[in-house]
Structure formats: C-alpha cells, structure tokens
C-alpha cells in the first residue's frame, strides 16, 4: 500500500499484479497527482499503439458492428456494484493518507530521488551557469553509477512562463538526448529524476524550451557541466 504512488507507469503498460492493479485503481479515484502521472504515461502508450497500427482485414468492421447489435451493453449498475469495494478501498486509503500527513505522499513520490541522493556511491557535480544562464542560480547533478540514475537539484532558478519549461539534456558523441523536463517550484527550487543514465564522457546541460519540451534543444544552454 505504501508504494501506490509509483505504480502509474506499471499500470499503463499492464505490469501490475491483479492485487496491485485493484489497489491502484482505487487509489487513482482520489489521487490527482497519480491521475496526472497516468495521463502522461497513457500518452506514451497511445503513441506506441498508434505506431503499431495495421490496416485491419476487410469485413472486420462489418462483423463487429453486426455483433454489437446482438451484444447488450453491461449495465453500469452491475459494473458499479462490482467495483464498490474498490471505491471503499479508495476512501480508506484517502483517510490513511490524511492521517499520516501530506508529507508521506511527498516522501513516497520523492523516494527515488532520495535513493539516488543517499546512495553510497553518489557523485555530485556542480553545473555552472553559462554566459546565457543566471549566475545567481545553483544547479547540481547527483548520480549513482550503481543505480544508473541521476537527479538534478537546483536552487534560485528563474521561474519560467507557463508556456515554457526547463529541459535537461545528456550530450554525447551522437548529440543531445532529452533527459526530461522540469519546472521549479515558486521558490525557484527543483529536485527531479533525470531520464537516461548520466555517466562520465557525457555533458549534462539545461535549456528552456516551449512547453512540452523539444526533440532537440532550441534554446541557449543555460547550465552545463561534464558528468
């Protein structure tokens, strides 16, 4: 139950056990952060599904339309009755979260970040501002070779307009590869997992891009350092 917050990706690709799936669906009903996370994951699943699309055989459509004429829809009442225990579960989970405090939820979401930062082999790299960046900001890259994960931590970043986002890049011999997007909080602080594996030989950089990110950097590199 205490890891419900990181189940959205597994749910999206169908990698949960039946018990995890039921628990997560109940949890979803009351957890907006998880709904948002799932919406993002589902965009990827849709993109994958559409990239796998093939022209269905002729006649399939006609047969399906004929079948639905004979197949009654299952009434929502029957379905809802079946899912009521799950709704109850959600209510109980919501109360539990309230009782344990909002801090728990934040902690769970940030557990992966914590794991990297507290890893025995964590390496911290200071990422200085370039000429285009704000020298008043402080950006650090922390990565753990054993966990193959990295985290960006930043303080006093300039906030960006809502139609823009910070984007991280790992730059190797093949050019820049997106390492994820982030938006600092109102205080200009950020602490986010990096997509991909930071490792020596790569350069880590940060740009500002239009909302949703760019496949390749279009803005000036504001902070950069060799990993």
């Amino acid at each position: 139950v205490n890891e419900l917050h990181d189940l959205a990706p597994g749910y999206a690709v169908g990698a949960l056990t039946d018990a995890e799936r039921d628990a997560f669906e109940a949890h979803l009903a009351t957890c907006e952060p998880c709904q948002s996370e799932l919406a993002v994951m589902d965009e990827a699943v849709e993109a994958l599904g559409f990239s796998d699309a093939e022209q269905p055989p002729d006649g399939l459509g006609a047969r399906v339309m004929q079948s639905i004429d004979e197949a009654p829809q299952i009434a929502s009442l029957a379905i809802r009755r079946r899912t009521r225990p799950a709704v109850w579960f959600g209510a109980v989970a919501a109360v539990l979260v309230l009782v344990l405090g909002a801090a728990l939820g934040v902690m769970l979401r940030e557990s992966a970040v914590d794991r990297v930062i507290t890893a025995a082999d964590a390496i911290t790299v200071t990422v200085p501002a370039t000429a285009a960046g704000d020298a008043g900001s402080s950006v650090q890259l922390v990565y753990s070779p054993s966990q193959e994960m990295g985290v960006l931590t930043a303080a006093d970043l300039t906030t960006v307009a809502s139609e823009a986002t910070y984007q991280m890049w790992l730059i190797g011999a093949d050019g820049p590869v997106s390492a994820g997007l982030f938006t600092p909080n109102v205080d200009g602080n950020a602490s986010v997992l990096i997509e991909g594996v930071p490792q020596p030989g790569l350069v880590f950089g940060v740009t500002i891009e239009p909302s949703g990110g760019s496949p390749q950097p279009t803005g000036d590199v504001l902070f950069a350092a060799e990993v």
Partner: protein, 174 residues
C-alpha cells in the same frame, strides 16, 4: 466514450474508425497469425462496446484502456494456445530445457524484436526490454525484475523513463 456508454452505435463506429488499426496491429504483434489476430480483435472491439460503461476517466485515457484490453486478450490467447500445445506434447517435450514462456520468448527473440519494436529503438536496452516484457509479454514488474536480474525499483524507473522518452519521440506521429 461517454456516448458509446450510452449506447450510441454511431459513436462506437467513430471509435472503431480510430482504434481498429492500433487494436489489430497490437494484437497481431503479439499473436502473429493474422486470422487469429482478426478473431481476437473482433472480440476485443465487441468487449469495448459491452463494457463501455466500466471505463472511468480517472483510470486514464479511453484509447489506452482499449489498447490494454487488446493486449490482455492477445496475451491470454497466446498463453492458452501454449498451454494446449504443452498438453499435446507433454511426453515429447519432457527434456532438459528450462521452463519457458511462449509470449516472452517470442517477444525477446531478436528477429521478432525488429517487427515488434522499431518504435522502441530510441530507448536504452533495459528500458526497451522492461517495456517489451510488460507491454507485449504481459509480465509483471516483479517478474521482469527477476528475469533481468535488476532491482524492482530499477524496473519501475526504467518503465517510467522509457515511456517518457517514447512520448517525446513518438508523440508527433499520432
């Protein structure tokens, strides 16, 4: 989807127009045989109609929900065929090979991977394997962790990172 749930045939026809290609293509990549894929796709699309009222927006997008039903039914079908093959050949197959799983083998097989996942080329090996095993193979995170011999937390992170990257690399196509 709400209109489909209220019994609108024409709304369902729109859903068919949008989703039959992805549904059929996804199923065919899992079951391979085109006529079995057609049969499974038919059942899946009828199930979308009969269960439309079970779809809830809090549980994600309607398209993803439909694709999930498609994958689940296709994987069930492969497992059922494998089970019946295993029964038929029980005596003959009692050799020294390790226990195998048809879906996983088919997904991992190098040649097949080219067919399944050109879309996944942008991912790291661990991201791609984790997503393939779950998405096309029906494996749970725990099973993937054991199969690939990496910690569960790493599997979860790799699936998430892989999906985020797919969203960036494929996002423009749909």
């Amino acid at each position: 989807m709400a209109e489909v749930a209220s019994g609108s045939r024409s709304a369902f026809s729109d859903v068919y127009g949008l989703m039959s290609g992805p549904v059929f293509g996804t199923i065919r990549k899992i079951v391979r045989d085109a006529s079995i894929a057609e049969e499974v796709a038919h059942d899946v699309l009828v199930e979308v109609w009969t269960k439309a009222q079970a779809w809830e927006p809090t549980r994600g997008s309607a398209a993803a929900w439909i694709l999930t039903i498609a994958r689940r039914r296709a994987i069930d079908r492969v497992r059922r065929e494998q089970a019946s093959r295993d029964r038929d050949h029980a005596a003959a197959v009692r050799d020294t090979t390790t226990p195998h799983d048809a879906v996983t083998e088919e997904v991992i097989e190098t040649e097949e991977r080219v067919l399944v996942s050109a879309a996944l080329d942008a991912l790291t090996d661990l991201q791609r394997q984790s997503i393939e095993l779950a998405y096309y193979g029906g494996k749970t995170q725990d099973e993937i962790s054991t199969m690939l011999d990496v910690p569960l937390g790493t599997v979860k992170t790799r699936i998430r990172d892989g999906l985020l990257r797919l969203r960036t690399t494929l996002g423009g196509e749909s």
